[in-house]
């Protein structure tokens, strides 16, 4: 890796180290229920929303009511988005006179943005009107992130509370996260992006006459405002087809760095929030260090593999050395202004979180370099994960870890004083098994059927990687595309939407049930036999559990895809 690549990584870690702890403290205050910074600014807006929507901010909800509120909000909002996309040709803010979105694509897109996935079977600049982008897709960028955060906070409250069935109020949690965290962050991010040249206007396409005599439409639109929340809420759906590789979304190294920081800021702040809320920062630090270890390993691996270059390009006689005129490494599918190291860092960050934005084409990464974003998603979006979903995903692994530790020493496991019993482990198992079943079943069906296979651009192990990547991305609500797969077909629009819905709600419901179950328990005081979950030992155990569970589940398919492709390229098979 080059010195600038190391510098970029070090600067990113430094910025996160400065910003995440105070943001975690702020989040703890936002969700704490008592006075929080910014009450005078945000309070009136929140009260207005509560009045208009008929919300009682003091009303506490049983976990089932909390879950039903989440489902009701999701069901209504996805139907509204579906209708908006189907009717967009008849609605305002359509300067390019685009038509209605087709039923299958509307279905897939509505589900995709509802579930914080932002998988896109379309090119934004030729499919979506500016109203659809702003009032449809960007709206979900806010509320889908806030809904994920609400579920995580409900789980933390479940761990904290005793002898109660109440977990807070879903509507209040949704509103406070949107108004007090995401909105300010999006405004600041937008202003910085605009200052650096990211497009923000309501222009129609501007025709440009090229030197070859062709006419090229130059797109406009409210890009920066969507770009900021796309990264800050770990959504990832690009205004343009090329996503953050497009110069109008991500014009230079400064915006690239800002987007990386926005992607990682809230997910890495959540463990601090957790530590502050439970009153034991060590608990949060253990969660944080496991997330950080996995993310750093992925980032360093992808950066190194892409800067080292491609075996196939070497065989074809390409010069991949670093020089004054090129950044070196595997430049296929990379933006010249970013280079391979930035691609690796962005790829690891966007897949470790549930963002899915890309600043390079993952399909063009080296086989093992491309395996890193794939495996990152297979972890279940926990390094550091999406807004809230990263924290609750890692807490599920923590409960599994204490259960395994309890089995090894023959004691009833505890976590933060709450006994982890059969009911909790059944819910943990539902969570752990749901997504792998969806991924592997849909991938297996897709490679057995002739129709889905025709969507692939490649055959052999690379084709398998394209297929498994697509379902891994959708089921884990990531949304990044490996490319090389035409997803706008009835099969992928429908199975993809089912995978996204299952990957979202079949995980959130057990988490809320778990929170409700834990909230009812009376904590037991720590004894000599209590496993210290704020210790280095637990860090090792938690890291090991994550690696073993994911390894046992997905290693065979990773071996048949990117590993076989790497070996075949290396030994010229």
């Amino acid at each position: 890796m080059t010195a600038p690549a190391w510098g970029q990584l070090a600067a990113l870690v430094a910025v996160l180290a400065i910003l995440c702890p105070p943001l975690g403290w702020y989040l703890a205050r936002v969700y704490g229920g008592s006075a929080a910074p910014g009450d005078r600014i945000f309070g009136p807006l929140e009260r207005l929303i509560y009045r208009v929507c008929g919300i009682d901010p003091e009303g506490e909800q049983h976990w089932k009511v909390y879950a039903y509120s989440l489902l009701a909000f999701s069901c209504v909002s996805v139907l509204i988005l579906y209708a908006q996309l189907r009717l967009q040709g008849h609605l305002p803010l359509n300067p390019n006179h685009l038509g209605d979105v087709s039923p299958g694509l509307s279905f897939n897109t509505a589900v995709s943005f509802l579930t914080n996935t932002n998988w896109q079977n379309y090119a934004g600049e030729t499919t979506m009107t500016q109203l659809s982008q702003m009032a449809g897709l960007a709206f979900h960028n806010f509320v889908s992130a806030a809904a994920g955060a609400a579920v995580a906070v409900a789980l933390v409250r479940g761990l904290l509370r005793r002898r109660t069935q109440n977990l807070g109020n879903f509507w209040v949690d949704l509103t406070r996260m949107s108004v007090r965290v995401l909105l300010p962050l999006a405004v600041v991010g937008t202003l910085i992006l605009v200052s650096q040249g990211t497009v923000q206007n309501f222009h129609a396409n501007t025709p440009a006459h090229t030197v070859e005599g062709a006419v090229q439409p130059i797109p406009g639109g409210p890009v920066a405002s969507q770009e900021a929340i796309k990264e800050a809420g770990q959504n990832g759906g690009g205004f343009f087809n090329a996503n953050s590789a497009h110069p109008f979304e991500n014009p230079n190294a400064i915006t690239d760095f800002l987007e990386l920081a926005l992607i990682l800021l809230i997910p890495f702040a959540f463990p601090f929030m957790y530590g502050f809320m439970v009153g034991d920062l060590k608990q949060g630090v253990v969660i944080l260090t496991v997330m950080l270890t996995l993310w750093l390993a992925a980032a360093l691996g992808a950066m190194q593999l892409e800067t080292a270059g491609s075996v196939k390009l070497t065989a074809a006689g390409a010069n991949q050395a670093v020089s004054a005129t090129q950044s070196g490494g595997n430049m296929e599918g990379k933006e010249v202004r970013f280079g391979p190291a930035s691609c690796g860092l962005f790829a690891a960050s966007t897949t470790g979180t549930s963002t899915g934005a890309v600043n390079c084409m993952h399909d063009s990464m080296t086989p093992l370099g491309g395996a890193i974003p794939l495996v990152n998603m297979m972890f279940g979006e926990v390094d550091p994960g999406g807004t809230g979903s990263g924290l609750y995903g890692m807490l599920i692994f923590a409960l599994l870890a204490v259960f395994i530790a309890g089995l090894m020493v023959g004691r009833t496991p505890e976590y933060l004083g709450k006994k982890i019993q059969a009911a909790e482990m059944k819910l943990v198992m539902l969570y752990i098994l749901a997504v792998p079943i969806v991924i592997l079943a849909f991938t297996a069906a897709s490679v057995l059927l002739k129709g889905p296979l025709r969507s692939l651009a490649n055959s052999g192990p690379h084709g398998l990687t394209e297929m498994i990547y697509a379902f891994t991305s959708m089921a884990n609500n990531n949304g990044s595309a490996f490319a090389g797969l035409n997803g706008n077909t009835p099969w992928f629009n429908i199975t993809g939407a089912i995978a996204m819905l299952a990957g979202r709600f079949l995980l959130m419901i057990p988490v809320l049930a778990l929170a409700g179950s834990l909230a009812m328990k009376q904590p037991v005081p720590p004894s000599a036999g209590t496993f210290p979950t704020g210790s280095k030992l637990f860090y090792g155990l938690l890291l090991g559990v994550v690696l073993i569970v994911v390894g046992l589940t997905f290693f065979p398919v990773v071996a048949l895809g990117p590993i076989v492709e790497h070996l075949a390229g290396h030994f010229r098979l």
Partner: protein, 60 residues
Amino acid sequence: LADVGFVVLLVAFFAVAAAFVAACDKIVGTRATFDAGEGEPAPGSGGPVRDDASEGGVAA
């Protein structure tokens, strides 16, 4: 017709999700019944489950 089909599919999914909430509540409910009895056997269970966490014993 396609619109009707997709709307029905969406509503059906959320109906299934609501049923899944009820299924998870049954899992939670079993444990809650046991906890309410503070060591007494839950209805239909084989007998009392030992709370070993504070005794250093072997899990039942």
